[in-house]
Amino acid sequence: MVEVTRHDIVIVGGGAAGLRAAIAATEIDPAASIALVSKVYPMRSHTVSAEGGAAAVAREDDNFEMHGYDTVKGSDFLGDQDVIRYFVEQAPRELTLLEHWGCPWSRNDDGTVATRAFGGMSTKRTWYATDKVGFHMLHALFQHSLRFDNIVRYDEHFATRLLIDGGAVRGVAALDVRTGIVRVVLGRAVIMATGGAGKIFPFTTNGNIKTGDGMALAYRAGVALKDMEFVQYHPTGLPGTGILITEATRGEGGYLINCDGERFLTTRDYGVGTKAELGPRDMISRAIIQEIEAGRGIPGPYGEYVHLDLRHLGEAKIDARLPMVREMSKIYIGVDPVHEPIPIRPVVHYMMGGIDTDITAATSLPGLYAAGEVACASLNGSNRLGSNSLTECLVFGASAGRNAMAFAKGSGEGSEDALRRQGEEEAARIVALRGKQKGGEKLARIRADLHQAMESGCGVYRVQETMDATARAVAQLKGRYADVALEDSSSVFNTELIAALEMGNMLDVAEAVANSAAARRESRGAHTRRDVPKRDDQNFLYHTLCHFDPAGPRLGKKEVTLGHWEPEERKY
């Protein structure tokens, strides 16, 4: 049994991108019915964990050309240049809207919005609200969205399948977590805004909910995943938990220090030049790994680490600019950064890749749009600059909302019978999985083995052999997953069932990551190979496309949009 509801558009995901899309859609048509489907209450979305800030040109000494150049250089020239130029031009407008909607941006003495330095950015252009920027942006967006009666929320509804009829997407099937009912939520366009997939790795800043759901749904529906080999390791995570310590620590002047007390980014050549700690994330993460491999790490119970030293900033500045860093360091590693350096190591943080979208946030499937981390509009290329992603959620969330509404206006509804049947198929699949006793595999074991495979093959440094081994391991894990046994047969808030469905999504995303990585025989941005250490524009200046096929993924290529900045060697 399924329950069918109908709206103008359906948005999946209630974080920054999904909420911004919903608000943009209401602005287009206040009478339109906009469904917002989220597997958690929107204010629990992982946007909440972003810390350091959101980038947009704000100062006299800055301009779009500079923000664009920093971004394309950070991307190691794999970013699409039309997308980058659109993004930097829209960015100030979007952050201004957030200001009008109540976001408590930190201020200069004259009342203007304050900006801070960030990695790879050539001037201070990162807007911030102390070091809880994602939290404040998410709550400002969510609370602002509450004023619109026509945003119809499906809280704690887990979308598990895109419903397609007549060659276009017409809605989603979503499991109501609280009741176990599968709902067929129909709309004439669908926006994916479900975020990233850090949980395919064992050591990640990402929350438990980041299981690549939207990527997997689009992938299985025939939309390519693009540039999935590029996984961002953030340089500064807490050992053990992987909790993020924001790049704003370095933006505010923090140092990275090895076991000899040496500021290694200033004393050794890691390619970051005078930027030192404000180099881009891929380079800083490689530098830390190299320091550890050279024996200059510091041993700890969760492996070797280096130090992030904020002591010279002083208590007043730390409390004013980085209060959450201080609070979390105390709680989660027992260190007060006012008095001691913070142990840190590189940690999986962000997927540069995602659903292949164009500059309008559209995908190859008519009616399907995507925005935020789930999408790959090719803003970030092979390495994202810190503080571009929160702004990206707004710029492309808004664009997706507007363009999906325009599409919905000219699009039909599809056959309700056909869509209902698809929903019933999906409900049958879910009921069969719920409490499925027959099988020899345990969910927690599959997850542990997936983590082990992804970490060994798709780390900061990669080689062909282990990437190939990881791709094979993921294929085997998909076989084992089919044999999983579950214990919980309840229809009510069955989190084991959710975890099992998420595991299916993670395996599909992991397949795309490992296979895309194994095929790129060059080093570019976050994809760094020990066996092929150089970038190769001759043969690899293209986007990787990964297409779903039950027999195994098929890879393809897509041209990079150039034309404004000539690719050059990436040196700082």
Partner: protein
């Protein structure tokens, strides 16, 4: 144990409306790591001992607000509370003063309605155009409301509040603090509208000043202060409306 693990017994409330007439207790013995928080033990139980246990969690860094539960009778964010501060037995129950959906999962829909009712958004007589750019706000004006904007909606304050316990419809600490937060914001012109909400039944005047909400708040929002100020403002606003001349012709 030689690897630094010790054993603790977790007494966890279980309730599955598909099977149980009423909540029951279930005990689990867990080898706990010295660095673990309460949530880590629940996740261990879920992964290794009993996959039927249901609880909410996500960020495990005390900002998403999902994992609030009663730990030894006190409302706590389970991802924040170190197990080392507890004895051999730890009792984990769903947040008090909320309907229970299952096990440790409570129904938050009532809170969502309360939050919406205080109009937690910027209200202006005339909306600004984006072309006008960001409004100015001095650091002092920001400081007026900043503390109340730190609420992560974890709802621990509702579990601690003796008024909510007796009067479930009470608007409650977090919702009042967030409404008040917008009224204090120099960019907002909606205080009068919210004061009308606050003068309604079951809102600020129901508060009995127990201060429990402020004591349990994991983000030091001090909702008790917000309720207090909101009460005063609602009265002043009402009193001045009696004194000031009315518009229109006599």
């Amino acid at each position: 144990m030689s690897d630094g693990h010790s054993k603790k017994t977790f007494v966890v409330t279980r309730f599955d409306p598909d099977q149980d007439a009423a909540p029951r207790k279930q005990s689990y013995e867990v080898p706990v790591h010295p660095d673990w928080k309460v949530l880590d033990a629940l996740n261990f139980i879920k992964d290794e001992v009993d996959a039927t246990l249901s609880h909410r969690w996500s960020c495990r860094m005390a900002v998403c607000g999902s994992c609030g539960m009663m730990v030894n009778g006190e409302p706590r964010l389970t991802c924040k509370e170190p197990l080392s501060q507890y004895g051999d037995t730890v009792v984990v129950a769903p947040l008090a003063n909320f309907p229970v959906i299952r096990d440790l999962v409570i129904d938050a829909d009532g809170f969502m309605e309360k939050l919406t009712s205080v109009k937690p958004w910027i209200i202006r007589a005339k909306e600004l155009a984006v072309e006008e750019g960001p409004m100015r706000q001095s650091p002092a004006e920001l400081a007026e409301f900043k503390q109340f904007s730190m609420c992560i909606n974890c709802m621990l304050c509702y579990s601690a509040c003796p008024v909510v316990a007796n009067e479930p419809e009470f608007l409650g600490p977090a919702a009042i603090a967030l409404g008040h937060r917008y009224s204090l914001d120099s960019r907002d012109e909606g205080a009068a509208e919210r004061n009308e909400v606050f003068r309604g039944e079951g809102t600020v005047f129901s508060c009995s000043f127990a201060n429990e909400c402020t004591e349990v708040c994991p983000k030091h929002v001090d909702p008790a202060a917000a309720v207090n100020q909101a009460k005063l403002n609602a009265v002043i606003d009402w009193a001045s409306s009696l004194v000031l001349p009315r518009g229109g012709d006599e």
